[in-house]
Subunit: 375 residues, 2 copies
Amino acid sequence: MSYFSDPGNLCLFLQLELDDAIRRLHRVVGNAVVDDDRYVGGGTGSTQLFQAVLFALSSPTILTLSPSVSSPLPLSTLHCFWILEKKHGNMGMSSFLNHVMSQPPDSPLSGSKFDSYPEETEFLHSGLYNWAGDAYSFDKDGAYVELVTSPNNPDGMIREAVVNREGGKLIHELAYYWPQYTPITGKADNDIMLFTFSKATGHAGSRIGWAICKDKEVADKMIKYIELSSIGVSKEAQLRAAKILDVITEDCADSGPDKEDNFFEYGHRLMSDRWEKVREVVKRNGVFSLPKYTRDFCTFKGKDTDSSPAFAWLKSKDGLDCDNLLREFKIVTRGGTNFGVDSDYTRISMLSQDDEFNLFLERLAAIKGSINGNY
Amino acid sequence: MSYFSDPGNLCLFLQLELDDAIRRLHRVVGNAVVDDDRYVGGGTGSTQLFQAVLFALSSPTILTLSPSVSSPLPLSTLHCFWILEKKHGNMGMSSFLNHVMSQPPDSPLSGSKFDSYPEETEFLHSGLYNWAGDAYSFDKDGAYVELVTSPNNPDGMIREAVVNREGGKLIHELAYYWPQYTPITGKADNDIMLFTFSKATGHAGSRIGWAICKDKEVADKMIKYIELSSIGVSKEAQLRAAKILDVITEDCADSGPDKEDNFFEYGHRLMSDRWEKVREVVKRNGVFSLPKYTRDFCTFKGKDTDSSPAFAWLKSKDGLDCDNLLREFKIVTRGGTNFGVDSDYTRISMLSQDDEFNLFLERLAAIKGSINGNY
C-alpha cells in the first residue's frame, strides 16, 4: 500500500473516493461551495490542516515561484521578511506576521483565545508566524491572518471577519456549520474553509479533516505541509470516512414519502431536546445564564430552526468561578480562563452519551438548593 | 468514536491493541528491547514522530516541571536558551540547538543530507532547533541532537553515533532494522528508537509509526506534540496495523515441522534474489558499482545472512551523472545530490512491483552496449 492515492490528482494524499464524498455531502447539505474550481485537501483532522494553512499563507518559498503566480501575502510583506532576515540572520523571522482571531466588539468573549489555537500556533516557535491575540483589539500594520471560527467554540455564535484591512488573509474554521448545530443560512464561499469529520458526524478518532480553498498555490503549499509533517493521511481512515459520508449523503438525498428523519434532522432533534432540558434546569435554579441564539431559516431543513450548539457556554450570574462551582457538584467543565475570559464562564459539552448527559442534568438541577448555603 | 483510546494509558492516542502488537512483534523478531519499562508511542508515520522527538528534546517547557524530573537537555543549555531569548526577544531562539546527522569518517556519503530530514526539520523555521548538517564535521560546543539512521537510507549501511560528546542526545531511526533488509545482530537498546509500519511490512499508506523510549518525560512531550499537531493518530489505521502485526507475529512464532518461510524469511528471500540479479547485471555491464555489505549472523534466522537493503545505491564508475544516465534509459531514480553527495551516485528502489523490477533490470542491462557510444 503506497503513500500516494492518485498521482494525477492535485492532492497526492487524498483518496478520490473521499474527495467525491466530501463534495457530494456539501452539495446535498448546501453549507459550502464545492464547485469544480475549488480545491479539496485532506488532513489528519482539521488540527493538522490549520497548521498547514498557516504554513501555506506564511512560508517564504513563494519567492522562488514565478511572479505571475498569485501571492499569498503582499510583496511588501515578503520584502519586509527578507529585510528582517538580513538584519538578524536566522533569528529575525518571528514577528513579521500577525495571526489574529475574530471577535465582534460587544461580545462577552472579547479576549477569548479559542482554546487550543494559540498553543497550536506557538508551540514550535515558528519563525513564519505568531499568535497576535484578539482580532478586535488588533491594530498592527501590515500583513495578517485572521482566524474566523463560525459557529464559534465555545459560545456557538455565528462570526464574521472583524479586522477587514488591506493585507489580510482569512481562514474560516467551519467545523460546526452543520444542520444539527445551527441553521444553514447559505453556502459558505470563503477563500479557505476548514471542516472536520469529527464534528460533522462525530468520528473524532478517525482524524480526518478537509480544507476547501480557491487558490491553487495555497492548496499546493498545504499539500507540501502535509507531506513534510506526516507524508499524507491514513488511507484506512479516508476510505472509511468516504463510505460513511456517502451513506449520509444518500440518506439526506432520499425524500421518499415514508422517509423518517435523515442523519442531520435526527441529530438536530436530539440536540434541540438536550438544549430544551438544559435551558429548563438553568431557568429553574436561577443561578446561571446561557447565550441566546437568533432563530433562522435553515435552507437544508426548509424551515425556521433554533441553534443547538455542541457546547453550552454557561455563566454564573453572581460572578462566581463557574467551573469550580460545578466541580463541587461533580460536573467537570472547561473554565472560561481557558478561553481567555473570566472564570464566571465555563464550557460544557452537549455531546456526551445519554447516561452521562442525564446525570449532568440531575447534578445541575441540584445546585439551586445548595448554592445559597455554600456560596 | 472519541479522540482518545485509553485514558489510563500514558499515550492517550495509542490503542492498547497496537501497543501490545508492537511489543509482541519486536519480542519475536528480537530487533529491539521492549521491556515493560519502555514507553511505546504511536504517530502518523515515523515522519510525525521524528518531529515529535525534536520537540520533546528541545522544547523549553521543561523549566516549568519539577527539578527532580530528568532533563532532556543539560541545564546550561536551557540557561543559554533563556539568555538568547532575553537578548533578542522572540527572535533569538533558533540557534541554541544543533541537529546533526550521523556519518562515519571514510564513507562516500559524508555530507549526505538524508533526503527529507533537513526539510522536515527546517520548514517551519522553528525557534527550538535547526539542522546543523553532517555529524562527522560537527564541531560546535553545547547541546546537540544526533540522528542515527541504521540501516542507513540510501546506502543500507549500519550506522552508529559519531559525535559522542557531552550534552548530546541521540535519535535512532531504525525503520529498516528488520530481517528482510539486514541481519538482526541484537536487540537495539537506544534511548529513543523510531520504527514504521511502512518499512516493517510495506503499509506506507496507513501512516503508522512508533517510538520506543526510555524516558517518561520525553514520551510525555512527544505525546504533547502529537496532540498539538493532529490530536492523535487514526484509530482505523491503528486497529488494522495491530491486526496485521499480530498475524505476522503468530506466523513468526510458529515453528511447526511443515512450516514454510515466515513473513520476514519470505521477504528476505525475495530481496536477496533481487539483489543477486542487480549485482549480476551491474557486474556484466561494467559501468556501475554497488556497496558491499558484511555478511553477518542473524539472530532471527539463526544463520549467517547477507544484507538486502530497500535501495540500491548505484555509482557511476566513470563519474558520470548517474541519475541522468539512467533516465536516458527510462529508469527514474533519485540522484546523489538529493542526499548531499555527488551526482555520480543515485538511489534506486528495490521494492517495486515484480513487473516494474524486471523492466528495470532489462533496461539496466541494455546500458552496457550503448554507453561507449553515447557517453
